[in-house]
Subunit: 187 residues, 2 copies
């Protein structure tokens, strides 16, 4: 990708460093740690620099989530059942290993009281769901496909955010079995 | 229920008023509004009173969630499929009408960084899931029952917390169809 970026290299560096620090603070300590003063100190910039580039906290959050980067996903092999199982396992791993649990919990909570956060959450969730949305058309369409997606992703988010742990392998397997059989048996 | 409460009636009143105000602030404005100073002002008590009864913020949160009271649930009629549909519809309504979305988002987010919140979340979630856990044994057991529960509840929490809306009636219906057929077709 040879896009030309004509900005001052120092500006580019600031634009990468500061959100990376904001994301680390968010995942390590939670949203309340992500203040311009704290981020400036940790990133080694002045508070004025942080305020100039990110006048609103929501701007900093948006750029911090962009730093989350590409989540590891299962590499699709074309068999829908295998791909569903692989993608769900990747989702569970990202919850633990990439602290996606904290990222999603923060976005869910912040979006409740700050309407500006909802589009950041929506974009982040859409990115995460994309691979599963590519697998499902081989199995179902319309409300059945949407139900399967919401149930399978939802099992993982509910288990992690409401129970504190991803579902066990046995429960994941049973869920895919139920969905595969339930979809195959439709009228 | 004729339990005898020998505490000073003023103490009992404080113990009900203050958590009710804390819960209202939490649902209206989010966790950051629930400071002892703000709660004291809104409830018409001194800050000292609030600090005396709830030395830690987590104590106040625990009592606030106890004020959430009994969520409206579907009245079971004994047909598992009808009961599942009814219970899911009640869950969706509570998300919107009782602002269960905000309650769950706050608990999920706070539990990430404060281990003392996890037991409050767990008790609240267990209460909410109880009716569905009573319906499922008629349909499945073991990992299949747990998978069905996590998928059906998860569809609602994922949809509300990650997409900002409960699932549509069409998607809810499709989900119950998939689960009923998937469970019926098990080996």
């Amino acid at each position: 990708m040879a896009t030309t970026d004509n900005r001052d290299p120092r500006v580019i560096r600031t634009h990468n460093d500061v959100p990376a620090v904001a994301l680390r603070l968010l995942l390590d300590e939670g949203w309340e740690a992500v203040t311009p003063a704290r981020v400036a100190t940790e990133a080694g910039y002045s508070r004025a620099t942080v305020y100039t580039h990110w006048p609103e906290r929501v701007d900093l959050l948006r750029d911090a989530f962009a730093q989350f980067g590409e989540m590891p996903h299962h590499e699709a092999n074309g068999d829908a059942e295998t791909d569903l199982r692989g993608e769900l396992a990747s989702f569970c791993r990202a919850m633990v290993e990439h602290r996606l649990d904290r990222a999603l919990a923060t976005l869910a909570e912040r979006a409740q009281t700050n309407p500006e956060i909802a589009p950041i959450r929506d974009a982040f969730v859409a990115d995460g769901e994309r691979p599963m949305r590519q697998i499902l058309p081989a199995l179902a369409e319309g409300p059945a496909a949407e139900a399967a997606l919401q149930m399978l992703c939802g099992m993982v988010t509910h288990s992690v955010l409401m129970h504190g742990n991803p579902p066990s392998d046995e429960v994941l397997d049973a869920a895919v079995d139920i969905v595969m059989r339930g979809l195959a048996q439709r009228d």
